[in-house]
């Protein structure tokens, strides 16, 4: 499923979710319940700049006087491993983003993560391979 497919099926009545530089932001409505949406698209890595922008959006949500849930859409190839991100302390930007989501949750915004996209499919494939190996090893032990 593409991001457009996911957004269309989650928000059949329409939505105001936009993507810029592979960062997702906006809102939609599910059964008359407003839902904030943030995330990362395009199987792109998350670096300092992106984490900073996403954290800023979560802080905007926290400042809203509502308790609307937050949907976090994730199609990412993990953290960006560049010299610049290392120099600027990527771990702090990621920790800060996590803290903003914790604060939002504490303020009453239920937070739901939705992994989708290329890495998600490959992860599921690896899981099923591991499962077959585990079953084979277990059967071998049983036969002994």
């Amino acid at each position: 499923m593409t991001l457009a497919d996911i957004l269309a099926s989650l928000f059949p009545a329409g939505h105001e979710v936009a993507i810029a530089d592979n960062l997702i932001a906006g809102c939609g409505t599910i059964d008359n319940t407003p839902v904030h949406v943030i995330g990362i698209a395009g199987e792109s890595p998350l670096g300092c700049d992106g984490a900073f922008i996403l954290a800023g959006r979560v802080l905007d949500i926290v400042r809203h006087d509502d308790t609307a849930p937050i949907l976090v859409l994730i199609d990412s190839s993990s953290q960006r491993m560049s010299r610049r991100d290392e120099l600027l302390g990527l771990s702090e930007y990621l920790a800060h983003l996590a803290k903003t989501l914790l604060l939002a949750e504490a303020q009453g915004h239920r937070t739901i993560g939705l992994l989708y996209g290329g890495r998600c499919r490959r992860s599921l494939h690896r899981y099923s391979s591991c499962d077959r190996h585990a079953r084979s090893a277990s059967e071998a032990r049983t036969r002994q």
Binding site: C48, F52, L59, G89, E92, K99
Partner: protein
């Protein structure tokens, strides 16, 4: 060098000798601190992290950043013993004191 760099840019709150007693003492101090999780402290952290992005955006390596911080003879930093490093860096480093 990574630890010294993090101490200088405000990513680490302490820098100690590479031995367990020093780590233990620093851990006790850190655990005694009162971390906050509220909108004001996270706004402060957002601004602190934004300042860092702007201030060091063009840096090619850590020495560039240390030079920008005003550390004297920045190329010597990796080779300095702990006490020498601390005396040279304490007044120049970024901190996270009002943002965590």
């Amino acid at each position: 060098m990574g630890g010294k760099h993090r101490y200088l840019i405000g990513g680490a709150d302490a820098f100690v000798d590479d031995d367990v007693p020093a780590f233990r003492d620093a851990a006790f101090l850190a655990l005694a601190g009162k971390g906050r999780l509220d909108i004001d402290i996270l706004e402060a952290e957002q601004q602190r992290l934004e300042r860092r992005l702007h201030r060091f955006d063009k840096a090619h390596d850590a020495v560039d950043i240390w030079k920008e911080l005003g550390v004297s003879k920045p190329a010597e930093i990796p080779g300095l013993a702990t006490n020498d490093f601390l005396s040279r860096s304490t007044d120049k480093r970024e901190t996270a004191n009002d943002a965590r």
